[in-house]
């Protein structure tokens, strides 16, 4: 049953993505409402699926890779809907929904067998959830960065096309970029700390210097630097946009690395 819900969600996100992408290329605003409706419906089904899974298992389980990715997609769409709610910024969907859809696809590609987890691992969901929330922040910053660079280029090359008319003002995108990192960063910090605690409980050491842990620390240091250079030497706007695009590309590479290693055990996250 839950599996069916996830599949329906995936289909809805896919259709929503198509609509949002067409919306990006058409002058009509009407399409965005349809796309938004589909995304909203997808979000409801997704929420139902997550609740159903939690009830079925008797506890919240966001531990394995596909669960983490599914939660990531859910949180991403949630943030998107919040932004649309407050800012009526439908165009964000053209960038965020594809990302959410791809996350679900990635999740579905991972092996789906369910291990019975020993109770000691059950607290790991806190670490995964926090890390994923941090990643959502960086993902939104990434999307804001991409939109910024696109709008920057359109303005510089004076191409006043449909895309130009739909993309929001640069300073809004820069603010969105900054706030997303500011929100994501504490979550990642807490995620790493809880991860270290979990590792200590499970393996007796806080840090085992495996590649995922190193990448997590590198990511943390990177976004810390992004925030710092903004405050200290004014690396905002275009520079910040590029930095966050590069940063999230690193995050994606980490995930890809995880998939390629097919190492979807607990320690990977």
């Amino acid at each position: 049953m839950t599996g069916l819900f996830f599949q329906v969600t995936m289909v809805l996100y896919f259709v929503g993505t198509i609509f949002f992408l067409i919306y990006l290329l058409r002058r009509s605003e009407a399409l965005s409402k349809v796309a938004l409706g589909i995304a909203g419906l997808g979000f409801l089904v997704h929420t139902a699926a997550l609740i159903g899974q939690t009830i079925a298992l008797g506890h919240l389980q966001i531990i394995r890779f596909q669960e983490a990715m599914s939660f990531f997609a859910w949180a991403l769409v949630f943030v998107f809907l919040m932004v649309v709610w407050t800012r009526r910024l439908h165009v964000l969907g053209s960038f965020i929904l594809p990302l959410a859809f791809l996350s679900l696809v990635t999740a579905s590609m991972a092996p789906a067998e369910v291990h019975e987890l020993s109770p000691v691992f059950r607290t790991v969901w806190v670490h995964v959830t926090l890390s994923m929330l941090g990643t959502v922040g960086f993902a939104v910053a990434f999307v804001a960065g991409i939109m910024y660079v696109m709008q920057d280029r359109l303005l510089k090359s004076k191409r006043f096309n449909v895309l130009y008319s739909k993309l929001p003002p640069l300073d809004f995108l820069d603010t969105l970029n900054q706030r997303s990192i500011l929100l994501g960063f504490p979550f990642l910090t807490l995620g790493i700390l809880t991860g270290a605690v979990s590792a200590h409980i499970s393996f007796g050491s806080y840090l085992s210097w495996n590649s995922e842990q190193i990448w997590a620390l590198v990511t943390w240091a990177f976004y810390f630097t992004v925030l710092m250079v903004r405050i200290t030497i004014g690396w905002r706007a275009k520079k910040a946009a590029y930095l966050t695009i590069v940063g999230f590309a690193g995050v994606i590479l980490t995930f890809v690395g995880v998939i390629l290693k097919n190492d979807i055990s607990l320690t990977s996250l």
Binding site: K158, F160, P169, L170, F172, R236, A237, K238
Partner: protein, 444 residues
């Protein structure tokens, strides 16, 4: 009686020279008095805007008129010599002078064709002339016609729509960089018409902080008052560049006023906060290389045009239509002017009287039946002598008064008393009521 114009504009003279020769309203009376003091100059009007300074005059002799106004310009600014000035002046007489005024008022000669301010500026110049009694029947007629042509061009073609849309394009573009214009600071460099128009649009969008600068400090102060902004000296406006989120540049200078380095430094000092620059000057006032500066967004008139999506071809057609309207109206005024000559009026008056005489004599002769040739001669002689006696006074007055300053009034009056048709047009060129009521002013 000739109408002439001598002037200089953004097309012929650098802004520095135009500013030297500008005649502010406060000095208008003195300038007009000086103009009318030249022998042979009967009426005068001075049109002084940021983009042009022009003197319109009604003169006895075209060439002497031209040199009088050239001398007037030279004496406007002591530091100026005629050799320096002459290459920047243009002068037209009669038909071309009228056409020029009509084109100017219709905004066809403006930096941005269709900009709406010039009509008001012509009205102001005319008001100044009226206040100081420097205009007479001819200028009054022509300038009023020019204003109505200007209005006609605006309402019947779409060229002004375009100028307004250029300003809104600037605002729309600004909104693609800044989400909230209200907190932003605008730096307005120069007082070009389009710059002011764009600034007005931004103020309408809720911009509150405005910094203004122009070479003429007084103008900056006046403008600062209008926009509730702050005027800063032109020499150190660069220091204020760092505060400017939006820079509007419309100085009319022939060189770059804002360099790439200026913007580079400003953006660095602003710690990469984006800058939005609009260059509404022709030629450009902001170095186009500014486009290579990160976080600085420069747009010039062409870009704004592109943004508006204005079809060049269509706009050219609209301008052509406007030119057509100007041409038509010029011929109407010319016909009226021609009628103001004493000679044709006298001829027309005689013709009119002769025609009456002929018909009446014919009628009388028909009624009287057969008459001897002597009797016929007596009847015809009687009619002729009545007409001659009646016309004698008016014709003598016309001939003598036509030479005086307000001679045209008599001619115009004669044409209307006797209902003489205008040459080459039928009745369109007659004076309107307003003008007649104004005439006594000029008789005083």
């Amino acid at each position: 009686m000739n109408i002439i114009v001598v002037g200089l504009s953004h097309k012929t003279a650098p802004v520095e020279l135009r500013e030297l020769l500008a005649v502010p309203v406060s000095r208008g009376g003195e300038a007009l008095a000086r103009l009318l003091a030249y022998p042979g100059v009967k009426e005068g009007m001075i049109l002084s805007t940021c983009n042009r300074v022009e003197v319109y005059a009604v003169v006895d002799d075209i060439d002497r008129g031209f040199s009088a106004i050239q001398d007037f310009f030279v004496k406007t600014h002591l530091a100026l010599s005629i050799d320096e000035l002459l290459p920047h002046l243009y002068w037209y007489a009669d038909e071309r002078a009228i056409a020029h005024l009509f084109r100017v008022t219709g905004s066809l000669d403006s930096m941005v064709v269709g900009e709406p301010q010039i009509l008001g500026q012509v009205k102001e110049a005319f008001d100044m002339a009226l206040t100081h009694h420097s205009s007479g029947v001819i200028l009054n007629k022509i300038v009023r016609k020019a204003i109505s042509v200007g209005k006609g061009v605006r309402t019947n073609t779409r060229i002004s729509e375009f100028a307004v849309s250029i300003s809104s394009a600037a605002v729309e573009l600004a909104k693609k960089v800044f989400s909230n214009l209200q907190e932003k600071t605008v730096l307005l460099v120069g007082t070009g018409e389009m710059g002011k128009l764009a600034a007005q649009h931004l103020v309408n969008q809720g911009i509150r902080q405005m910094i203004l600068t122009t070479r003429q400090t007084q103008r900056a102060i006046d403008l600062a008052e209008r926009f509730a902004g702050k005027a800063v000296p032109f020499e150190d406006y660069r220091a204020h560049l760092v505060k400017a989120d939006i820079v509007l540049c419309a100085t009319g200078a022939p060189h770059y006023v804002v360099s790439q380095e200026d913007v580079l430094r400003a953006v660095r000092e602003r710690r990469n906060r984006p800058m939005f620059l609009i260059d509404i000057s022709v030629p450009r006032n902001i170095d186009p290389l500014v486009k290579d500066v990160d976080n600085a967004f420069l747009f010039d008139i062409d870009d704004l045009e592109t943004h508006v999506g204005a079809n060049r071809e269509q706009r050219r057609k609209e301008a052509e239509r406007a030119e057509g309207m100007v041409k038509d109206e010029v011929s109407v005024v010319l016909a009226w002017l021609r009628g103001l000559d004493a000679k044709p009026t006298i001829v027309a008056l005689r013709k009119w009287a002769e025609a009456i005489k002929d018909t009446e004599v014919e009628k009388a002769l028909a009624r009287l039946g057969s008459l001897s040739s002597k009797e016929r001669g007596t009847v015809e002689g009687l009619a002729s002598s009545i007409i001659n006696k009646v016309l004698h006074g008016p014709l003598v007055t016309l001939k003598t008064e036509a030479q005086s300053k307000n001679g045209v009034i008599f001619i115009e009056a004669a044409r209307r008393f006797f209902d003489l048709p205008d040459e080459e047009s039928s009745g369109q060129g007659t004076l309107n009521k307003e003008e007649t009521t104004r005439t006594p002013q000029h008789l005083e």
